[in-house]
Subunit: 418 residues, 4 copies
């Protein structure tokens, strides 16, 4: 159980840290000012020039597409710019994801942001050569953006088998109908690729009914009904959309890996994706704890620095403990994914339950130490807190993942049943 990165992973981590500190952080507030201005002028749904510049610098330094996995991803890592020309293990990438998670824009700078990274991984693992050439390559160059269409407004999507949108094979085409929402990325002007998940054969086994289909954004019948606010935020330029698909026709060859394999693909997509989410949240929690400590030692009330008031030290200690446990937990899941793929399903569900709530709580504590200031955008805390909360739904709500963990645990004792 080796939970520390390889020398190459460690070196990339050092360089990512340095890049964030010297290149990204100094312009982060400028980025948000530019974004606010773009928003005011109705022009926020595209990559800002400053982001393009940052991406170019990152790519030039080989800090690009670092999420590409060792093994499957080596060829593409070599071709699309990662230093050392090979994909990283999850144990190598996890600490890097943590570093990028401290900042709201860093994942985009390194082209390692959801959902593009997850969509790239789907194409990498399950796509045909043609699909990779047409969609994966531009994604890895950040020349296009993508969205993943899974959740539906009409049903409890926590149970993915509830999905009702259809992807019916008709001869050498697939015809798609239905409504999706929380389609992250669909608002972006460069979003050309939609990966759609829908019901193809209602009579098949529960996990063999659905297909995953590539739908070019420009196909007739695709309509973005509205962009959804997330607790008031639209998260431009990518955003989250509600998408109606009406008699959308695409060639049969757009089905990824063939009809009926959507669940298999989703499972493969979501394991590393959840590790990334969790590690980024650990970075966010670390950032919040750092802000809390800085504030607590520098502000005074009732004649003492805040750090010496009431339970503040205890809360800081509890936050440190929670973060440290969380990091080891995620690294262990990453290591299981790297080494024991199949047995990692429950480990991934475990971290998906535990880490977002941990982050929400740590950030809540940091807010409380900042007082009302934390509600404003003078600090990144409010946005961090909302983000951690939202991740408790993304890729399956806490309750569903607890169910997975419990099922594995109970299975050990099924022989004990009377």
């Amino acid at each position: 159980m080796l939970l520390s990165p390889s020398p190459r992973g460690a070196d990339l981590g050092t360089r990512v840290r340095e890049f964030i500190a010297t290149v990204i952080t100094p312009v982060e507030s400028q980025y948000f000012a530019d974004l606010a201005q773009a928003r005011a002028s109705g022009n926020a749904w595209k990559t800002l020039p400053l982001m393009r510049q940052l991406q170019e610098k990152a790519r030039a330094e080989g800090l690009w597409n670092l999420f590409l996995p060792a093994g499957h991803g080596d060829e593409y890592a070599a071709k699309f710019g990662t230093t050392g020309g090979a994909g990283l293990t999850n144990v190598d990438y996890a600490p890097i994801a943590e570093l990028t998670g401290r900042s709201f824009i860093a994942p985009h700078v390194f082209n390692c942001n959801a959902p593009d990274s997850g969509n790239a991984e789907v194409l990498l693992r399950y796509g045909s050569e043609g699909q990779k050439r047409q969609w994966l390559e531009p994604l890895l160059q950040a020349s296009i953006r993508s969205a993943f269409l899974m959740t539906e407004p009409g049903v409890a999507s926590s149970d993915a088998t509830n999905m009702q949108a259809t992807a019916i094979v008709e001869g050498d085409h697939v015809v798609i109908n239905g409504c999706k929402w929380w389609s992250t990325g669909v608002g972006h002007a460069d979003c050309e690729l939609l990966i759609f998940m829908g019901l193809s054969d209602p009579n098949a086994h529960k996990y063999l009914r659905h297909s995953m289909v590539i739908v070019p954004r420009s196909t007739a019948g695709v309509e973005v009904v509205r962009m959804l606010p997330t607790m008031g935020w639209y998260d431009e330029p990518h955003g989250h959309g509600e998408v109606r698909l009406t008699d959308v026709r695409v060639p049969l060859s757009n089905v990824i890996a063939g009809p009926g394999r959507a669940f298999e693909i989703a499972q493969g997509r979501l394991g590393p994706g959840r590790v990334h989410h969790c590690m980024r949240l650990i970075g966010l929690a670390e950032h919040a704890l750092e802000l809390a400590c800085r504030r607590a030692v520098s502000r005074t009330a009732f004649g003492k620095p805040l750090v010496n008031l009431g339970g503040n030290r205890e809360r800081i200690a509890d936050a440190r403990i929670a973060i440290n446990q969380a990091r080891l937990h995620v690294l262990h899941a990453a290591w299981l994914l790297d080494t024991h793929n199949l047995s990692a399903i429950n480990a991934v569900s475990e971290i998906k339950v535990a880490i977002p709530t941990m982050a929400q709580n740590v950030i809540d504590m940091a807010m409380q130490i900042h007082g009302g200031a934390s509600l404003s955008d003078d600090f990144p805390l409010a946005a961090a807190w909302l983000h951690a909360r939202a991740i408790r739904f993304a890729d399956g709500p806490d309750e569903v993942h607890r169910g997975v963990v419990a099922r594995f645990e109970i299975a050990k004792y099924r022989g004990a049943e009377s």
Copy 2:
């Protein structure tokens, strides 16, 4: 310990409930649509026509200024439109506040919203006849709006004695300098009254140094530097502002109750205000629980209604228990305010600690049952959750109130010290 309302209070409660159900609720989504449109056209910082209409109806029915307290407020209740022509006790008003708290606009409709109601109460209890005529009467007619300027960006305002803005008596004037923020209401076009709290005599006893001063919004030297987002929301039309005051001169007669009495006044203002906040939050939590139950019985996942999945029933039970305890707790504090004024300080601090967190947790649970939908504005849950969180800062953060409660508790045993 009679915790239920008088017949008159109960009757007003029934009528408020009916008014909300038949007059407010049916147009609430229209109101927010109007507000969104006003926001889009840069015109959101004033009372919308629909709100004016609702206020007129409420006033016509005598459901107006219900917050006015029995005793001090009777004359004004008679004059400004409350049915029955007298103020209500806290025990009578608390259930009404709960009802209005279910809706984000109801408190405004009944002219019972913070900070106007609290500012009215300050004038009522401590204002001169002239001050009442000039400021209280238009407030009670909703012809002007007001703001309360206390918190400062530069210091930990949880310790109010930290306040550094000054209100220096110079002859028959007061000269004000400093910077305030989280001045709720200051964004409103009708906001004409600022009640400012500042340091007058640094050499006086800690609680006798500050004065509370009426500052007309239009006075030279008053500048709203910016409106502050609260976790991304600007809460138009009233909003929360950062206000710089530079050599602002007002007549000495604008000092409420005379120099040095700000803490005394603030204490009187905040007791009932905190009861109102807490009761409104209980209404909000009830609303969230209702939505959670409705969703849980009507949505299906894994072959069962959500209500029968995992721990959902237990969470619903825990929410019911928490709300019921909270309501009794606040009613008891209200009763203490009505009957034992002085001994109610700790009771008010107790509820200020307990109720916002309770509401935040209940709403968080309701969100989780709604899944991703709860993040959108299709449901009032995200806004409710943010509101409950924000109230954990308003009128003193949790930690300060815990300190008050502990101080009272420990005082019982001081004789036991070695």
Copy 3:
């Protein structure tokens, strides 16, 4: 909603408080020393002489059988010694139960201890005149003791319909077979009355299958298999036993209220009983908080009194808040039992969920402030903590009561189901 006691209730409360302070508390440590000695000499399973003396004093002062309910209990209260000669409402008795709960022996001194008080109530409400004469009267004189035989070792007794012990009517007798445990009181030398609950008619409606039967302890076939330790304690002199009943025959007239009515009776027995348990736990929690405060102001570490270290003040505040909410909650349930009997089932379940856990947590906090000393018997904290924990099982575990609360809550929205 009048939650304070009547003048008579208040007066009795004052006298109970005084009696505990001046008569019981001064000899409480002597009582436990006597008990330890009795235990060492194998002689602990009977009422100690000191307890007899205390009981006589209490009875002489009319502080006796105070649990007897207003209405049904008036005649017996008059006859068996309660001052004022009438039963008390739940709202009157609840604060008295709180006072007695501060001490481990006070409930016995006032003849208000479980399970005797509950058994008395069963006989009072459902017993025949003959049953009352034979069993109720000596119970109210404390000349006999009793036990309640419900829980079974072989099944999950949280679901009472699981019960498998049988009470079969054969002509004019009932024949009983089965095994019960956690039969509190069965260890006492004076325990002459067992109230047994068993299955009479497996074909009847689920809640009409069981009967409640009076079984004299001396009947052939009744065997106490063992006394059970509760986390190591045997709770002499009453204790908790495992009882095997083999072909036990009693006259049909021993069936309380007739065959098939056990669930109806149990429900009536348990409502007030749970209120008593909860109020006594509030007394215990208050006692723990008092000890915590006394210790925290009088001990020093790291150069400060404990009360000024870390989060201790916040924990004290949270304990005060939790206790105050709990007390109001139980008083409200008591008031509902007094005034709205039927609608109180969920209120009773609510307090049964909330209060024992509250008490466990408050006592845990008090222990932590005492350090290792709290583990010893120099303080009543360890015993208090174990007791609160155990009550989370008594009269139904938390989970079952949460289920009841949820069922009531959800029932409001059943129309909303799709």
Copy 4:
């Protein structure tokens, strides 16, 4: 960060697991029956014959003194029977400690129980050759037992500098006076070695005032005043005593490492000791979770196995998550102790805060699933729960360790102070 054991460690772990399963577990209930009988006959304060037999078997298999540390402990591991003849790293020993922690007697069987193992480590690291010969060797042969005298009843011992018992150097002797309690092991008939910590020089630096002194149990002036119950249990045969020392004189050579070094030694003793405590608690929590799952799949209520009722699955999932995080956390602290000794102080404090509470909560959940049965001694749950609770005091209460963690965290930002 390699958190898995070496091949030798893994092999020893496998053999320990096998030994527990085949040799210890089958006789564990017999052991407790023997102990109960010994207790009944007043003969419980010595090693039972069955324990001697188990110890001989363990020693014969080289599963003996496994706690001895790699490096310092190699010679003794070779001489006193550990297979492979060398001490183990903390990372190697931690999983073994977890296995022994599942059972209440296994640590004694392997001669790895507190406080003997900790005392052995003190002698090993800081003792003179003579001290090792006289005391360490018989300890490692289990021919004597020992106690550690640190905590005092008269002061808050959470602040160790509070200690008031004295160890005054007078010529070539040390004279000891004072009162200690919670001296674990002092009740055992074979307890010959007391390691005493007391104040030697009140004028020295705070951490250089105290000395650690070897006091033979038989020295004149040593009196065991009483054995202390821990929540009702006396934990025979070792127990926890209150010890009065009156003018106890021992040679100066009995001072370990010389006067004034007690804090330095205690720190070295406590690091690994806390890792052992925490890993054993993880074993205990795993055992409780296993029992909970077995019960939950085999018992039925309301027509379903318990595992499918209410929130039981979620609680099982949360327990699994908490245990897994805890294990990684302790392994990481063990690895830091092995590799970065100095930086491990805060890591050790972190686990000391987090793991006992985790264990207490998991065991509490398991109890709740067992219902009232868990209170009896039919299951090891009550004892496990009390043990986990007690460990929250042992080696420093939670609050003190939180303080250490916070101090390290805040130190990073001291430059930020204004």
